[in-house]
């Protein structure tokens, strides 16, 4: 589980963040599949399948295409440089473990999973603040969402009820499509996808 966490932090320095996100989602799908197998819950296979199809294959493909279309350059200019960002994420992970401690007894998929999922969520939010590119913000949001799904699997063996699971996934998918439309339009109007230029509205 901690591998994912480190991949997240490592992603900070890599321009190919989308592929890393795909790897992270693949691991998530793997965890879901293992949970489903070891606890004999067929519904969780559905989660694993959806994650595999959506987050490992479709979304990364879609986003890579988008990146090519808007012709993004590789440069990221974060507010904090990589080492201090790493340090901060370490702090966030520590905080997550403190929050998760009361839950340590009742877990299904290993003692640390819940802590890891909170850490994923927090570092996803941090990534969002730290980056200026519109696409990276979307990516960070997806990483945070991975954390939420992991929490769902780790807290309850069976995951959420199927209706909810489907709804959440559907919403996520539409969300990405909408975000992409926005990215595209921002690119057309501002001839850049640097979020720093979105600074007209104040007060």
């Amino acid at each position: 589980m901690l591998v994912i966490q480190f991949l997240m932090v490592g992603q900070r320095m890599l321009p190919a963040g989308i592929r890393l996100f795909a790897v992270q989602s693949f691991l998530l799908a793997g965890i879901a599949a293992v949970t489903a197998y070891s606890h004999h819950v067929p519904e969780v296979y559905l989660v694993a399948g959806l994650t595999l199809a959506g987050k490992v294959i479709v979304l990364p493909w879609f986003m890579l295409r988008l990146v090519r279309q808007v012709g993004i350059d590789q440069e990221h200019r974060p507010w904090l440089n990589a080492p201090s960002a790493m340090l901060l994420c370490g702090g966030l992970a520590l905080l997550s473990y403190v929050v998760a401690r009361p839950f340590a007894t009742a877990e299904a998929a290993g003692a640390h999973t819940f802590g890891v999922s909170i850490a994923l969520m927090l570092s996803g939010f941090f990534l969002m603040i730290n980056r200026r590119r519109a696409i990276t913000q979307v990516l960070a949001l997806l990483c945070a969402e991975n954390g939420v799904v992991l929490a769902a699997i780790s807290l309850t063996v069976r995951g959420m009820p199927v209706v909810v699971e489907l709804g959440v996934f559907f919403d996520l998918f539409i969300g990405i499509v909408v975000l992409s439309i926005l990215v595209y339009r921002i690119r057309e109007t501002f001839s850049s996808i640097d979020v720093d230029q979105l600074n007209r509205l104040k007060g």
Partner: protein, 491 residues
């Protein structure tokens, strides 16, 4: 049967509209759909008053007094907005501000938007409720980016990014609630474990650790949607950039959905956590919103942003009322939700008329509305008095009730701060709007006729506002008290 019909109607209309190209047909379909939804909502409220709860589609839908009230409010706002939108978009199109394609997009997205909002109060499962709130965010993003200008894209981007962070926190909170529920129910009743109808019965047995985390996350998440400070920053941007009908739906519809969700979760968390922790959180956020909104109202230069800050203030009042607790607090929160949803549309309609006539929303550039657009000017003055809580209008009652609740709960300082905030906002509003309405018009401006579609929506809502100031119909009052009992946790 009834809840299912209410839910499927807008969805079906939205899908049909995708295939329709004629503007007349789109207008008619939207009007017919929302008219029917409003009628069904009244029937639903009657059914709830007789039978207390109504279920539908197996156990998927569940309606009690609180949800019936919220459904009614959403339907009312949607109907008014549909009437207003006809006039609004015809004028925008004549002025060359929007293309026919954009107008079609509005009429196609709006029923879907309303469908997502209606899903929130109608669904039994807290998970599906989340899906509805997220769905309403997604449906409205493209409505905010409607004009495709730099500023509207900026507003839409802020809205979806801030909203998504909030909404994923809310999902996390929902999952944690589910965890607490499964611990109580065991593995047997998995699919029922997120349903309000089963969950509310065992609220006292839920794990306090889990519920504390869950409630905090949910309040942060849905509080973002309701526009509580400090997560309110998307609100002025979105409200000033979206077309007026969409803004109205956001300001008087989505806010109710978010507050409704917070009400449900606070009723769930109170029995196991005790009211102390929840109350402190709610009062903190509520008071913070009121106090942050006040100075921004004083220095505001933009009419629509002014209204947005008023909306932040009212969301804060509702949440604070919830935090004061007790019968009075719950009643105050529910009443305030009702009065706010009834009053707010008129304010935005007036602002829309002013913007269309004068071509600007900057307060400095507009003067003499009363002479140029007598109906709009008069109604604007009236609605400003109503939203700032001046008697005899109904908001005064609910704000007074909230103050009583604060004093009863022994939070004297909070009450004092609330009064200070509300009075400041009143003063700010009056100063801005009296200059706007009563000043002398520029010599070149002449009196203009009002559009009958827009005027009928405005007069209709003005009549309701005026009537509610003096008379709360008995069935409505029963619905409100029953809803307050659900919120306060005393069935």
């Amino acid at each position: 049967m009834l809840p299912a019909a209410i839910l499927t109607l807008p969805l079906a209309t939205g899908l049909i509209c995708l295939a329709v190209r004629s503007r007349r047909w789109l207008e008619g379909l939207n009007l017919g759909c929302f008219g029917a939804v409003a009628a069904l909502a009244v029937l639903l409220a009657r059914a709830v008053l007789e039978e207390h709860t109504v279920a539908g589609m197996g156990r998927f839908l569940y309606v009690d007094a609180l949800s019936a009230l919220v459904v009614g409010l959403i339907a009312f706002v949607a109907l008014l907005t549909a009437i207003y939108a006809v006039g609004f978009f015809r004028q925008e199109e004549r002025a060359g501000k929007v293309t026919p394609r954009q107008v079609r997009r509005y009429y196609r997205l709006t029923p879907l938007f309303v469908f997502a909002m209606l899903l929130v109060p109608l669904s039994d499962s807290l998970g599906v409720m989340w899906v509805g709130i997220e769905g309403s965010t997604l449906a409205s993003v493209l409505l905010i980016a409607f004009y495709n200008e730099k500023t509207s894209l900026e507003a839409a981007w802020k809205y979806i990014i801030i909203g998504s962070v909030g909404i994923s926190l809310a999902l996390f909170g929902t999952i944690t609630t589910y965890y607490a529920a499964v611990q109580v129910f065991g593995d047997a009743a998995q699919t029922q474990a997120l349903n309000w109808s089963t969950l509310s019965l065992v609220a006292a047995q839920l794990d306090p650790h889990a519920m504390r985390l869950a409630f905090t996350c949910v309040l942060l998440g849905y509080g973002t949607k309701a526009g509580l400070a400090p997560m309110h920053t998307w609100k002025p941007d979105a409200y000033s950039e979206a077309p007026i009908p969409s803004t109205t739906l956001l300001a008087a519809g989505v806010i109710n959905c978010a507050i409704y969700a917070i009400m449900r979760f606070s009723a769930l968390a109170a029995p196991c956590l005790g009211h102390e922790y929840i109350g402190n959180l709610l009062v903190g956020f509520g008071l913070g919103s009121v106090l942050i909104a006040a100075p921004f109202v004083l220095v505001q230069r933009n009419l629509r942003r002014l209204l947005a800050y008023s909306s932040i203030d009212h969301a804060g009042l509702m949440v604070a009322a919830l935090g004061f607790g007790g019968r009075l607090g719950a009643l105050g929160a529910v009443l305030h939700m009702l009065f706010h949803a009834v009053t707010k549309p008129l304010a935005f309609f007036c602002a829309g008329n002013v913007q269309q006539r004068f071509g600007t929303v900057f307060l400095r550039k507009i003067t003499g509305v009363m002479r140029v657009l007598p109906w709009t000017g008069g109604l604007l003055l009236m609605v400003v008095l109503a939203t700032t809580g001046v008697p005899p209008f109904s908001m005064f009652q609910s704000e007074f009730q909230i103050l009583c609740a604060a004093l009863q709960a022994g939070r004297v300082w909070a009450a004092a701060a609330l009064v200070a905030g509300v009075v400041t906002i009143f003063a700010g509003f009056l100063a801005h709007v009296s200059k706007l309405c009563l000043g002398l018009p520029k010599p070149e401006e002449t009196r203009t006729a009002e559009c009958p579609w827009k005027l009928s929506a405005m007069v209709l809502s003005a009549v309701v506002i005026a009537a509610l100031g003096f008379w709360l119909p008995a069935p409505l009052f029963r619905l409100v008290t029953e809803a307050a009992n659900i919120v306060g946790g005393t069935p």
